[in-house]
């Protein structure tokens, strides 16, 4: 059962990711990204990370992507005029570099990654475990993150408000 589910959603994720970078219209790219995020959420469930799966949908699909779509709509961004004309930089570096990166990573993973088979249901990290870790071991990062969010709010206000 597990491998079947894995392959279905891995395929969805990869197809959506490819669609993200080939779609001409930003809204469709955004939708593709939501597709990737959704299928990753299901893979997280397969990996027993229930809380993270739910958070993935709430934070990424529900908050971040809504923000993206909002901005695309506000700016009324249309299709790209010159979609398939990557600059020399991209041609020279981008694609071959990425293929090389992927090759190296896959080779390394095949050769040296820790062995192990992950079956569904052997280990789960629910809200309780995550919460406990956040408020004990990871207390400092958790509290400091609030500063990060404050900066984000402050920054958005500073950059977007009517007058300085």
């Amino acid at each position: 059962m597990d491998p079947i589910l894995f392959f279905i959603f891995a395929a969805v994720a990869v197809i959506c990711a490819i669609s993200l970078i080939v779609q001409k219209h930003p809204i469709k790219s955004a939708l593709s990204l939501i597709g990737v995020m959704g299928s990753l959420a299901i893979l997280y469930l397969l990996l027993g990370a229930e809380f993270i799966a739910a958070a993935q949908l709430i934070v990424y699909a529900g908050a971040i992507m809504v923000l993206f779509v909002f901005v695309i709509m506000l700016l009324n961004a249309g299709e790209e005029k010159s979609p398939a004309r990557p600059s020399w930089f991209a041609k020279l570096l981008g694609i071959p570099l990425m293929i090389a990166l992927l090759g190296i990573l896959s080779y390394v993973i095949q050769r040296a990654a820790p062995e192990g088979s992950l079956a569904f249901g052997e280990y789960t990290g629910g809200a309780r475990e995550v919460g406990r870790a956040l408020f004990t071991t990871y207390l400092l990062p958790f509290e400091i993150t609030s500063v990060l969010i404050l900066i984000a709010i402050l920054g958005a206000v500073v950059l977007a408000k009517k007058e300085l």
């Binding site: 809204i27 959704g38 799966a53 739910a54 709430i58 699909a61 809504v66 909002f70 709509m73």
Partner: protein, 397 residues
């Protein structure tokens, strides 16, 4: 037959499957009747009759409406983005109906019990926003776009208040599983709304207000403000696609009410769960009186109707209602369905309150709406969390 039913895999798969099918089959009908009730109640508040033509007292109106919607011409605006125009209502409906999967209708009727059930509902509702936003965008019309932007902003804002109110309830329950939340209330013998010397009523009120806004209902129905934006994000939608949005809206109302009932009103438990002598009057007497009484009340109405066919239909409905009431007298059956009865009854109450609000309050202006969300509900929600946490800690010693 016995062995087949005892097969664990079958039990694991069959029960959820049946419940799912029942929900998908019954809910559209139910949504239709919620609308009928809404129209009737609103009419009553405005001293008029409401739908009266189709069926006795408009009882068959929902079916007529459904037929009309399904047979309507399917129009897609020429400049609309076809694929997204098609996808948006599907997203809305899918996420709204998926919320049903974690609702505990009674202690054994639920599709699945997830450890993070409440988060699943929050996740689905936050993804559901995409349906609204994309629908407005894909229509390629100013009214739709404005409506969807407003609606999206509203949903995102009120989701925060909603979540803060939920946190209070989760704090009381110590779990995110919907079934467990009700079990905790059963163990403690009290609905969470009245926990902490009644302080939990604050988050409940916040939840209720935010839920009304979250479902785009009056007085927060800005996205659909007819006078300004025609019909908001679904201006360009018609026929079947429109009815999908419509279904999603009512499914959302049902789900947010169900969450309120589960988290604050004891889910499938009867009122006063810890008072033993009320067992029989509430669990048997009340439903019997409710159904049989309303059935009996139909007879005088039926006699007044001039059309004999309509009178016959109404009498049939009355008999049906009495029959349902009598079922509750059978102890074995009562035991099985009383949970569902209370669950749905409480949801009905909350839906009634929502209709009531719609009939009473004028619509807010957009800036007022944002002010209420950000400047009142969210600080109040944070305050409620602190208050309930401290009081809860003191109570625990």
């Amino acid at each position: 037959m016995e062995t087949l039913l005892e097969n664990p895999l079958l039990q694991k798969l069959l029960a959820p499957l049946i419940i799912t099918i029942v929900i998908i089959a019954v809910f559209p009908l139910m949504a239709g009747y919620i609308v009928l009730v809404e129209r009737k109640v609103l009419a009553d508040m405005q001293v008029r009759l409401g739908p009266m033509r189709v069926g006795p007292h408009g009882l068959l109106q929902p079916i007529a409406d459904a037929v009309k919607l399904l047979l309507k011409e399917d129009i897609i605006p020429r400049d609309a983005d076809k694929s997204i125009f098609w996808l948006a209502p599907v997203i809305s409906t899918f996420t709204a109906l998926s919320g049903f999967t974690v609702l505990p209708f009674s202690h054994y009727i639920f599709v699945t019990d997830v450890n993070v059930g409440l988060l699943v509902i929050a996740a689905l509702s936050s993804v559901g926003i995409m349906g609204v936003v994309l629908g407005g965008w894909a229509s390629n019309s100013h009214y739709s776009l404005m409506g969807s932007l407003r609606s999206g902003a509203q949903l995102v804002s009120y989701e925060v208040a909603l979540a803060l109110a939920l946190v209070c309830g989760v704090m009381m329950a110590g779990t995110l599983s919907m079934v467990e939340i009700v079990r905790r209330q059963q163990d403690q013998g009290i609905w969470f709304a009245f926990e902490n010397y009644g302080l939990m009523l604050i988050p409940f009120m916040i939840y209720l207000i935010a839920a009304v806004a979250e479902t785009n209902r009056a007085p927060f129905d800005l996205p659909e403000a007819e006078s300004e934006l025609v019909a908001g994000f679904h201006t360009e939608y018609s026929g079947f696609r429109w009815s999908l949005y419509f279904l999603a809206e009512y499914a959302n109302i049902f789900v947010v009410s169900a969450v309120a009932v589960t988290l604050f009103w004891g889910g499938w438990m009867r009122p006063f769960p810890n008072v033993g002598f009320l067992e029989v009057p509430l669990n048997v007497g009340f439903p019997v009186l409710l159904f049989a009484g309303s059935g009996l009340a139909c007879f005088p109405l039926a006699r007044k109707l001039k059309d004999p066919l309509q009178a016959k239909i109404l009498a049939l409905v009355a008999v049906g209602l009495i029959g349902v009431g009598l079922i509750f007298l059978v102890p074995f059956v009562n035991d099985k369905i009383i949970g569902v009865f209370w669950f749905l009854f409480k949801i009905g109450l909350i839906v009634y309150v929502m209709i009531w609000l719609r009939g009473t309050f004028p619509r807010f202006r957009y800036d007022q709406l944002m002010d209420i969300g950000w400047k009142w509900l969210i600080p109040l929600g944070l305050f409620a969390i602190f208050l309930n946490a401290i009081v809860g800690m003191l109570r625990a010693g």
